[in-house]
């Protein structure tokens, strides 16, 4: 193995180890602290302490698993968007998925469809909205069947703003929707159950490998238009496919965790700095870093909720993970942006 390949393997190993550690810690953290050895036993040993097993398997595993899966999906989605837009500041929200999904979530919660709003169906509604939002962005930005990154970007910003306004409009009509939408707007893993994990699993299970396999095509997408076509890449088809995959991954993440920001932007950028610009390395690392970041953020979110430092906050289930990401991620993000705009 040559030098860069060894370096990459070392990085991936380190990231993987870090993710594992965080995962185990995550499973241990809660109103009852379970030390790592017991967590491990609860996971693998049938004869371990039954309380431990109930807590770990029933309550904490779905959330930890979701943090893992959602982190992976967002990391990859961001990397794909950055390739399509050929810009390191692109992120999953630009697909229109978040805005569309949130709008539909709000409509659903406000009961505007005249249907009762059973919680299990929420992800389905969100997914529908997400797909609609993405379709809107694509339709509004394409011209003669081609996707131009520039126009896509600007259109995405406008369409997103439009959808967000409509969302606010709906929220005004419904107090209930107003209250419950906040965690969705910012992203939260509180109270997630196995049902949610089962939804996320196929998305991640299909989407992530597809994205990773297409690394070579992703590389070509980053060349100038002429070069990539001269190499035989069906440019517009490839762009559309990458966009659709990014949107799909973002939609999947959205439907279970709400609109989690920061990860889709940060993970691919850090991955690129560490592993280089080749997608065959940068994509897997982005996936890994996505998990790491979300696990870390959710750990912080959970531990803060145990003893909330803010005097004015009322009794709450816990800090939404998106809030942690927004507050602590902000300075990091600024540094990242600065680096990427040389």
């Amino acid at each position: 193995m040559n030098e860069p390949a060894r370096h990459f393997a070392a990085v991936m190993l380190a990231a993987g180890a870090g993710a594992l550690v965080l995962f185990v810690l995550h499973l241990g953290l809660g109103t009852v602290w379970i030390p790592p050895e017991r967590v491990f036993l609860a996971l693998v040993d049938r004869a371990a302490d039954p309380t431990d097993r109930t807590i770990v398997w029933g309550l904490r595993l779905p959330r930890a698993l979701l943090a893992l899966l959602v982190g992976m999906m967002l990391g990859l989605s961001g990397a794909l968007m950055q390739s399509v837009m050929r810009n390191r500041l692109a992120e999953p929200g630009l697909t229109g998925v978040s805005a569309g999904g949130v709008l539909m979530a709000v409509v659903f919660l406000a009961g505007l469809w005249g249907l009762p709003a059973p919680r299990p169906f929420l992800p389905v509604a969100v997914l529908g909205g997400a797909i609609a939002g993405c379709a809107l962005v694509l339709l509004a930005s394409q011209r003669l069947g081609r996707i131009d990154p520039l126009r896509l970007l600007l259109t995405a910003v406008i369409v997103n703003a439009l959808l967000v306004s409509l969302t606010s409009l709906v929220m005004l009509r419904s107090e209930y929707a107003l209250g419950s939408i906040l965690p969705w707007l910012i992203g939260s893993l509180n109270g997630r159950v196995w049902g949610d994990a089962w939804i996320a699993l196929p998305w991640a299970g299909l989407g992530v490998p597809m994205g990773l396999l297409a690394a070579r095509a992703i590389n070509l997408l980053q060349l100038d238009d002429d070069s990539s076509r001269a190499l035989g890449l069906p440019l517009h088809g490839a762009r559309l496919a990458a966009f659709a995959l990014a949107a799909g991954l973002a939609a999947g993440a959205l439907s279970v965790a709400g609109s989690v920001g920061f990860i889709g932007l940060a993970a691919p950028n850090v991955a690129r700095v560490v592993a280089g610009a080749d997608a065959r390395r940068a994509l897997p690392l982005a996936v890994m870093l996505g998990c790491l970041l979300l696990l870390a953020a959710d750990l912080v979110a959970q531990s803060v909720s145990i003893k909330p430092p803010i005097p004015s906050s009322t009794q709450r289930a816990g800090l939404p993970v998106g809030a942690v990401l927004a507050l602590f991620g902000a300075p990091l993000l600024v540094v990242l942006i600065r680096r990427s705009v040389r």
Binding site: N87, L89, A90, E91, G93, A140, R143, D148, L150, R151, L153, L154, T155, V157, I158, V159, A161, L162, V164, S165, L166, S168, L169, L172, R173, L178, G179, L182, P183, L185, I186, G261, F262, L265, I310, S312, S313, T314, R316, L319, P320, G322, A323, V324, L325, A326, L327, G329, A330, L333, V334, I337, R338, V341, R342
Partner: protein, 342 residues
């Protein structure tokens, strides 16, 4: 630079016609603004209620204490945001610049959110100062991180990223404070709102605009010089960096007081200069600045009327309507130019 399709080639008679047309539209909207609400007041009776002694006490109260200040605030708000956007687009040579994309709106909102939600004791008359500090701080961050951007779109992307960041932080702050009223407050800080504004608010805003608008008009020629390439304008004697900084501060201060009382009125700053440019025909700041003020006022006034009407008898925050009103022309402008708004 922006497309210079001279829409008014016929000289002063065309100017007069355009000005007359705009004035008429504004007059109509003003009448609507004063008439609509609860109670509805027929337009014919307005002069009496406004200038004379007629009308029910409730009507007189509505007109004199609520709708008149609201009308003035809408006009000032539109003029302020429109002018701010025009200044930024001219001076930063970026057709995608605007108070939102420069972080001014977001930073101002965040500062206000922190002050109000965490109960920091700041006297009401100093709120615009807080907003200004937040706005300037955020714009410094954006400008520093986007230095070295290879194109206006890259610079704008930086602004989008930072704006999203700020938005996330605002939502995070709100979720931390977490009282039931806090979610209502969400609208104040992320979307502009003119309802229930009174003369206090107008008084707060007036001095800022009274100082800022004449300054901008007087310095318009200097802004023109800054449109040239930096080396060229330096050789013409302009101290480009300081001048640019001065203009950014000016743009931020025009908007600061407005954000402090009404929240950020989205999209007006971005769209108005483009519409003004289409009207005026050439990128001359001396014409563009006043035109942006007029068109901005028109836009916000129209949006505010719409805000009162769209789900009558309830009201919608004006910022939502500006988005709904601005999105179609922006999408149209985007499709029209062959390579984005640049």
């Amino acid at each position: 630079m922006r497309e210079t399709t001279a829409a008014v080639p016929g000289g002063s008679s065309r100017w007069a016609a355009a000005a007359g047309g705009l004035a008429a539209v504004i007059a109509v909207l003003a009448v609507a603004e004063l008439s609509i609400g609860q109670p509805m007041i027929a337009p014919e009776r307005l002069p009496g209620v406004l200038f004379g002694e007629s009308g029910e006490p409730l009507e007189r109260l509505a007109i004199h204490e609520l709708r008149l200040p609201r009308l003035i605030l809408a006009v000032l708000g539109g003029a302020g945001f429109g002018l701010s956007g025009a200044i930024l687009q001219v001076v930063l040579r970026n057709p995608l610049a605007s108070p939102e994309l420069l972080g001014v709106s977001g930073g101002a909102s965040l500062a206000m959110a922190v002050v109000l939600l965490l109960n920091v004791p700041v006297v009401f008359s100093l709120h615009p100062v807080v907003a200004l500090a937040g706005g300037l701080g955020a714009s410094v961050v954006v400008l520093l991180t986007s230095r070295g951007a290879r194109s206006p779109v890259e610079a704008a992307l930086t602004g989008v990223a930072v704006a999203a960041l700020l938005n996330g932080m605002i939502v995070a702050v709100i979720s931390l404070a977490a009282s039931s009223g806090a979610v209502q407050v969400l609208f104040l800080f992320t979307v502009g709102n003119l309802s229930n504004r009174s003369w206090n608010h107008v008084e707060l805003v007036c001095p800022w605009l009274a100082a800022g608008i004449p300054t901008a008009l007087v310095l318009a020629q200097a802004a023109n010089v800054l449109q040239l390439h930096d080396d060229l304008s330096s050789s013409l004697g302009a101290r480009t960096l300081q001048l640019r900084a001065l203009f950014v501060v000016l743009a931020a201060s025009l908007v600061a007081a407005l954000v402090a009382v009404a929240g950020p009125i989205a999209w007006v700053g971005l769209l108005t200069p483009h519409l003004a440019g289409l009207l005026v025909g050439k990128p001359d700041a001396r014409l563009l600045f006043p035109a942006s003020m007029v068109i901005g006022a028109l836009l916000v006034l129209a949006s505010d009327v719409l805000a009162k009407v769209v789900i009558y008898p309830w009201e919608v925050p004006v910022g939502l309507c500006t988005t709904l009103v601005a999105a179609p022309p922006m999408l149209w402008l985007l499709r029209r130019s062959s390579a984005g708004l640049v």
